[in-house]
């Protein structure tokens, strides 16, 4: 790997073949010891050959479909009618279940609707003069390359040209081509078919176009732009450095906001707020606009920190500022600064709020309709931040949340878990964290008292590298913000988001090792983590069988 020591913070992620030797030296100086398997004598997972686990065929998420249509034609496709996406971990990804007939029909109906819209704006979509004989062909070649994310084959072009030839008018022909291409598997799926070299153990190098799609889907949640496709054509993506350069370019584009927003809202379950109901009796202020404002807060905050700010995980988890809009000023008890406009940072009460885990959206998404949710919040932190999901309770347990009791605090009601020795083993892991969030009600508003007495917000983290007692979610957030376990987990979550699959502890070991090292080297800068990710084996290769 060329010159890793003078390539700022992004050098940790490099090609797998040379990584193993570099890592030890690069990381020895890192104070945190994230680099297991290097200076302490454990062997590196990175061998001489690249290694990667099998990646399932991905079908566009609804959001990717909409973004792709937007970037292809400037048309807002109504994807509400498409079936919901599956998830890989907490992230939207259609990788497991095959498509349903109903969804294929939804694709047809939507493609026809978009085709009609395209017909109405042909002059925006076609660069040439339709009167020219070659115009249909050049439209197909250009549009097809962007929709399929690689040049059409001669056979594919000929079929689309035949469609246009059969049409009554040029505009009608454009409609037909758009309608057909949007139903093509080459549009709807992330097609990767590069073959391994003979005798190379099923590991195939992705070609430039496949890498371009991976880049844009990861960093834009959309299709490549022509510049990225040109880079693919010119072989610029065939080296880790080339991938890094394009990643850096993509991250400066406004489209990168979508990826950062989607990651954080899905990671922390805020995308599920849409399906969350709250008791109208207890929370009359709960509304669609409040829900949307919560989602927007997390999006704005994450974008601002990761893309414009210092990029630090620590900032994400402990910031005393946020980006809020009405009606959240009231919910947070923060006065709206005079002259405030949406998008301005707002200082939060540092005794009540610290970063993502104290966002009302996270707290509301992990709560019951009528009471807080110590179990949900504890499980969410363990699962999504520590990557140590607690084991499920034994099958004979009645896992029904107790009803709220006006005479008791939530803590008192839930303490049964840790009192019963049969439950305590796991619930000490969950409740110790979850009860620390008792300062926030079912919609994430701060509360100093519950049913009379002051809220007891104390808790304890157990089974992590930052074990210890704390008083309230602000202290908890600050503990987690510097936890090695959290850093390692966040790296894995980004891996899952980037690939739409869960990492394989064996097949992806080298990529994860490289990623951990790069994250450490950048002092846990999420932006640098994203750039490092695109240079891993897992990104550059595929397992073919």
């Amino acid at each position: 790997m060329p010159g890793s020591d003078d390539e700022s913070g992004t050098s940790g992620g490099g090609s797998g073949t040379e990584q193993g030797d570099d890592l030890g030296e690069d990381e020895t100086g890192s104070s945190d010891g994230a680099d297991e398997g290097t200076d302490d004598g454990e062997p590196s997972s990175c061998l001489n050959e690249p290694s990667v686990a099998e990646a399932p065929l991905r079908r566009f998420t609804r959001r990717q479909y909409a973004n792709a249509v937007r970037d292809l034609m400037g048309i807002a496709a109504d994807t509400q009618g498409l079936d919901d996406d599956e998830k890989a971990g907490p992230f939207d990804a259609n990788v497991t279940a095959p498509v349903s007939g109903v969804t294929v029909e939804q694709y047809r109906a939507l493609a026809e609707a978009v085709g009609l819209e395209a017909m109405a704006k042909v002059e925006d979509l076609v660069a040439c003069d339709p009167a020219e004989a070659t115009c249909a062909d050049s439209f197909i070649v250009d549009f097809g390359r962007r929709a399929y994310r690689r040049p059409l084959t001669a056979e594919q072009s000929a079929r689309y040209l035949a469609l246009m030839d059969d049409a009554d008018t040029f505009e009608d022909g454009v409609r037909m081509v758009v309608t057909a291409m949007l139903q093509s598997p080459n549009f709807l799926y992330v097609v990767e078919t590069s073959l391994p070299d003979p005798g190379s153990d099923n590991i195939a190098v992705l070609d430039g176009y496949e890498l371009a799609s991976r880049l844009s889907l990861f960093l834009w949640n959309s299709i490549p732009d022509p510049e990225l496709l040109d880079a693919a054509r010119d072989g610029a993506l065939d080296t880790p450095e080339g991938l890094r350069d394009e990643a850096l370019r993509l991250l400066t584009d406004t489209r990168a906001r979508d990826a950062v927003a989607s990651f954080h809202t899905q990671w922390l379950g805020v995308d599920e707020l849409e399906h969350t109901t709250k008791s109208t009796e207890l929370f009359p202020e709960w509304s669609v606009s409040m829900r949307a404002a919560m989602e927007n807060e997390m999006k704005h905050f994450a974008q601002a920190v990761v893309l414009q700010g210092d990029g630090k995980l620590e900032t994400l988890l402990s910031a005393d500022f946020s980006y809020i809009e009405d009606p959240l000023f009231e919910l947070y008890g923060v006065d709206k600064p005079s002259g405030h406009t949406v998008g301005d940072p707002v200082a939060m009460d540092p005794t009540q709020r610290a970063g993502l885990l104290t966002h009302a959206g996270f707290l509301a998404a992990h709560a019951h309709p009528d009471q807080s949710g110590p179990i949900q919040r504890g499980v969410a932190v363990r699962t999504n931040l520590l990557c140590t999901p607690p084991p499920p309770p034994p099958p004979d347990v009645d896992a029904i949340p107790p009803s709220p009791d006006p005479m008791a605090t939530t803590r008192e009601i839930f303490e049964q878990h840790t009192a019963d020795p049969a439950c305590a083993g796991c619930h000490v892991l969950i409740d110790g964290i979850g009860l620390g969030f008792e300062g926030y009600d079912a919609i994430g508003a701060y509360r100093a008292t519950e049913n009379g007495p002051p809220v007891d917000q104390t808790g304890a983290v157990v089974g992590s590298d930052v074990d210890g007692e704390f008083d309230g979610a602000v202290e908890l957030a600050n503990m987690l913000a510097t936890s090695e376990d959290v850093r390692s987990c966040v790296a894995r979550q980004w891996f899952r988001y980037a690939f739409g699959r869960i990492e394989d502890p064996q097949g992806d070991a080298c990529s994860l090792e490289v990623l951990d090292a790069a994250f450490a080297e950048s002092d846990y800068n999420v932006r640098e983590l994203m750039v490092a990710l695109v240079q891993t084996d897992a990104f550059r290769y595929r397992y073919a069988n």
């Binding site: 498509v99 047809r108 080459n186 078919t193 008791s279 896992a399």
Partner: protein, 448 residues
Amino acid sequence: MTLRFNPRFSRRRLLQTMGVSAAAAPFIPLLQSAKGGAEPAPKRFITFFTPHGTIKENWTPTGSVSDFELSPILTPLQAVKDRVVVVEGLDVIVDPDSPLGGPHTTGPAYLFTGSPMMPGSEFQHQNSGGPHGWGSSISIDQAVANQIGQDTAFKSLELGVQTGGAHPGSRISYAGPGQPLAPESNPAAVFAQLFGEAGADAMTKAKRKAERLSVVDIVKDELDSLHGKVNQADRLKIEAHLTGIGQIENWLNAEYDCEEFEIGEVPPPNNTAEAETLVKQQIDILVESMACGITNVGSLMIRRGENDNQPYPFLGDDQLHHATTHAANNDTEARAWMTTVYTWYAEMLAYLAVRLDGIEDPEGGTMLDNTIILWGTEIAQGNNHSWSDMPFVMVGGGGGTVRTERYHQFNGESHCQLLVSCCNAMGLNIDEFGGFDDGSGPLAGILV
């Protein structure tokens, strides 16, 4: 909504159209059998799902096998009681060695597949059970559709109302192992495809059809060419997409010609206050489709198994269903409210049954006489999450195969036996259905 449909007329028109259509090859057998004259009416099969069990004491009929009174929850079925079969006392007998998730999550798959979940890490319930994948086997509606759905424009229709996302708790139909079938939750979308273009002139129709078939050809060819290039494990995805495209092709080639009907204004599919309107619209579409011969098999999923925490404001209260089901046995207020919800489910079932009963089959009997609707839910009761003593109801004569107006009290037999009985009624000569089946065959007393 006014019903202006004449099934005799339309069935004949369907056949005539097909007789002159060169593209109607798959439908020739139906045409020939109709010419034979003495063929029985087509059999039809519908699975009907509602969430979170029932309130047992208000569900259980009183009386004996053939002389019984419907319970408060089942009272809406009084109008078709002579075609009702109440099946009490069956258990979903789960293989304890199979991956066990949350009961609301896995119950919808267990219900109509009679089979365990696939191993996997995709779904992990927050409160209970280990991780698992999708259901591991074909559901009864699809098995039946493979038998009686081959000659129709649609082998089956999967419809739903507010069923939730891509999750086992939100799916009741499976084409095969790990192949859940999403229901269409927007009546406007189904209506647009099935009936929405009926008014267009012949030239427009012909042009649209030709255009769409040319797209189908391209998509099929591209899928075919990808099939050999993707990894082994992904070929099933390509095949499923080909199946979906094949369904569109069948639809385009069927050239059915149904009487127009009004669906009315379709509310936003996620508007909980409009759930009843949406359910009735989906039922209307299913009934009209069956009457016109577009399909013989349907599944209707009302809301979701995994946490139906949605209100039923049209029933006069904003309580959240799932939360309320956890109320204790002695919480009479909550149980009264849930009884209201479960009675509404029966009302929706009755709406479907009565609609089917209002249409004569030209070959004899009403459509309800020739149909089996199988009503099930993912757990027995919301506050015990048990699979013992599941509340099942069948409605319809199954084409003379079902002993109707019966109240059966079983004692822990597997619900797979009921699935076997339904399959037998629909002409599938099997004596086991699903991975949980212990080979006991059909239930005694259900079929003639």
